[in-house]
């Protein structure tokens, strides 16, 4: 069917009065709701329903083992978390989580960008392939599985990391047994596991920067530092902003790596908020308190995300 025919039919349809148009419109409405039905149902039952329930449950004392008994306790869980007998541990665990968030975001962006700049080069064919497999293998493997490998590598007495550090004269590091080193271990592991994603997205960002910007700067005799500071970084700022948001949402939910590497130990030094929810709900069976903690996490994610969107206007450059 050629274009003129389509246009003519379109015109004749227009002429056929309102009734027909209205039914076509209603047909679209009906189809739209039909197409949306499965997604809306899933979101209602498994996302929004549970979000509201979570808030409601946080006002109850509810034990998983005596499932049929619930007592309304109002804000008691929140009071205990923020100012009562659970508060010291609650603040400690939030402190851990926020430290992980801050350290990981900085390192994700830094390591991601450095590796992207290293790989942003036309390597010969087989080399390109080998490098891609090598750099992005950690990214596609399961955290629980590779953290299981790392736990052996980081063992204080038997691990190869301390062995090779010993070879160059460094005393054994208590990687998983000291509060500070355990935190560092989780962070190092997570950077190793996830930097590939940041590298990939930065690589795509670097390849989208038009070459003439660099050529113009070179004609003016600009140094490579100047080019990095004045061209690369500003042009990458939308990419960086996107990665910052993703990095925040991912690391604030940190669970898998500390759970497998340290299980929150020593003490609570590597316990995260999600680990606390898991422990409260499924090891101490305290559904009410776990829900209260979950609501605080939701509030943090909400505030953090809104804050980032407001803050972006100051530094993100949209060409």
């Amino acid at each position: 069917m050629n274009y003129r025919n389509t246009e003519m039919i379109g015109k004749s349809l227009e002429g056929q009065g309102r009734a027909r148009k209205l039914t076509a419109k209603h047909r679209d409405w009906f189809d739209a709701y039909l197409f949306l039905a499965p997604t809306l149902l899933i979101f209602l039952v498994f996302v929004f329903g549970p979000l509201v329930s979570s808030l409601v449950i946080s006002f109850y004392k509810w034990n998983l083992l005596s499932f049929s008994q619930r007592t309304f306790v109002g804000f008691r869980h929140f009071a205990s978390l923020f100012a009562g007998h659970s508060s010291a541990r609650f603040y400690l665990i939030y402190g851990n989580t926020l430290l992980f968030v801050a350290a990981e975001i900085i390192l994700f962006l830094l390591v991601g960008l450095l590796c992207a700049m290293l790989l942003n080069y036309q390597f010969k064919r087989p080399m390109q392939y080998v490098l891609r497999v090598g750099y992005f293998l950690p990214l596609v493997t399961s955290t629980a599985i590779v953290a299981g490998i790392w736990a052996f590598l980081l063992n204080t007495n038997l691990g190869i990391v301390n062995y090779y550090l010993g070879v160059i004269g460094i005393q054994p590091v208590p990687w998983l047994n000291n509060p500070y080193w355990a935190k560092a271990s989780v962070i190092i592991f997570d950077v190793w596991k996830n930097f590939g994603f940041y590298t990939l997205v930065f690589l795509a960002g670097l390849q989208n920067i038009p070459g003439y910007l660099y050529e113009a700067a070179e004609i003016d005799g600009a140094s490579s530092f100047y080019k990095l500071r004045r061209i690369t970084l500003p042009m990458l700022s939308p990419t960086t902003f996107f990665l910052l948001v993703i990095g925040f949402i991912n690391s604030v939910q940190l669970f898998d790596s500390p759970y497998v590497l340290t299980d929150g130990t020593p003490g609570d030094s590597t316990r995260t908020v999600v680990m606390l929810i898991y422990q409260d709900a499924f090891q101490n069976f305290d559904l009410g308190k776990a829900s209260a903690v979950a609501m605080t996490l939701f509030a943090v994610i909400l505030l953090g995300s809104i804050g980032q969107f407001i803050g972006q206007r100051r530094w993100v450059y949209y060409g």
């Binding site: 679209d28 498994f46 979570s54 299981g148 999600v274």
Partner: protein
């Protein structure tokens, strides 16, 4: 002069190659250690300095994991769960994305805003009520408890909608004039022209759920239902801390399928991650 520049370029190129390869080897150390340990005898596995190349190849740990521990069952569970979720998301997210990208209906903006806002509600926040719901539905300790809530996702809907918005209107308009309904336009035009986006979403979804730990840990109870990540935790918990050789044989078997797929579809997977990353 030109010779100097060329020499300088060769040196630069060589440093870049050397640096990239060296860093890659450091990144791969855990995997190399995994393979070497899984093939060592128990005694050799703990010896320092490590024997990177085992004197004899000991396949017994693999045999143990394959037969005594029946890793195949865990593998099948992982496949069933992640494939079901991936297929479900492709269908349901694409349908919702079509409605948002191509149709106009009352409540469109509100519903879209609602779905996008749920990106800020990670499943960890709602895990307690979802667990209670699964208990009520008698779905605990079934694969369904993991599959059902994941059959659609805000990310998938948003990602595909962005892609569908770029499909030229002429394509669907002319089909409409030929009398095609929305379902035909969706399945005959939108799905075929969106294979790049659909496969990117498939890669992303499959990897995410293949690697997932928290929900399987909470929802699955019996050994026969558990997934590969849980299997590695199980191996580690045996004999107080787990025998490195057996844990590494298990880890190698668990990583192998993903590694093989990655080798063959590497370019595809990398592009998929970039695509979901950039448009998301």
């Amino acid at each position: 002069m030109t010779r100097d520049v060329r020499a300088l370029q060769t040196v630069g190129k060589a440093t870049r190659y050397a640096g990239a390869i060296l860093l890659m080897l450091i990144i791969l150390i855990p995997f190399l250690w995994m393979i070497s340990t899984s093939l060592s005898s128990v005694k050799a596995a703990y010896s320092l300095p490590p024997n990177w190349i085992p004197r004899h190849l000991n396949w017994e740990h693999y045999l143990y994991v394959l037969t005594v521990q029946n890793v195949f069952q865990y593998f099948l569970n992982s496949v069933e769960i992640s494939v079901s979720i991936t297929v479900g998301q492709l269908v349901f997210c694409a349908m919702a994305a079509y409605a948002f990208a191509r149709l106009t209906f009352p409540g469109q903006k509100v519903l879209f805003a609602l779905i996008i806002s749920s990106l800020m509600i990670p499943l960890q926040v709602t895990i307690v009520p979802v667990f209670i719901l699964m208990k009520w539905l008698h779905l605990l300790n079934t694969r369904g408890s993991l599959i059902l809530p994941a059959l659609s996702s805000a990310f998938g809907v948003f990602f595909l909608r962005q892609f569908f918005l770029t499909v030229p209107r002429e394509l669907s308009e002319s089909a409409k004039i030929d009398g095609a309904g929305n379902f035909t336009i969706f399945s005959r035009i939108f799905l075929p022209v969106s294979t790049a986006a659909l496969s990117a979403l498939a890669v992303f979804t499959f990897l995410y759920f293949w690697n997932e730990l928290l929900r399987p840990l909470i929802f699955l109870d019996s050994q026969s239902k558990k997934t590969l990540p849980l299997f590695i935790l199980l191996l580690r918990s045996m004999n107080g801390g787990g025998d490195a050789t057996e844990v590494m044989a298990g880890a190698a078997i668990a990583i192998l399928p993903i590694f093989v797929v990655f080798l063959f579809a590497q370019r595809y997977i990398v592009e998929g991650i970039v695509m979901t990353g950039i448009k998301g």
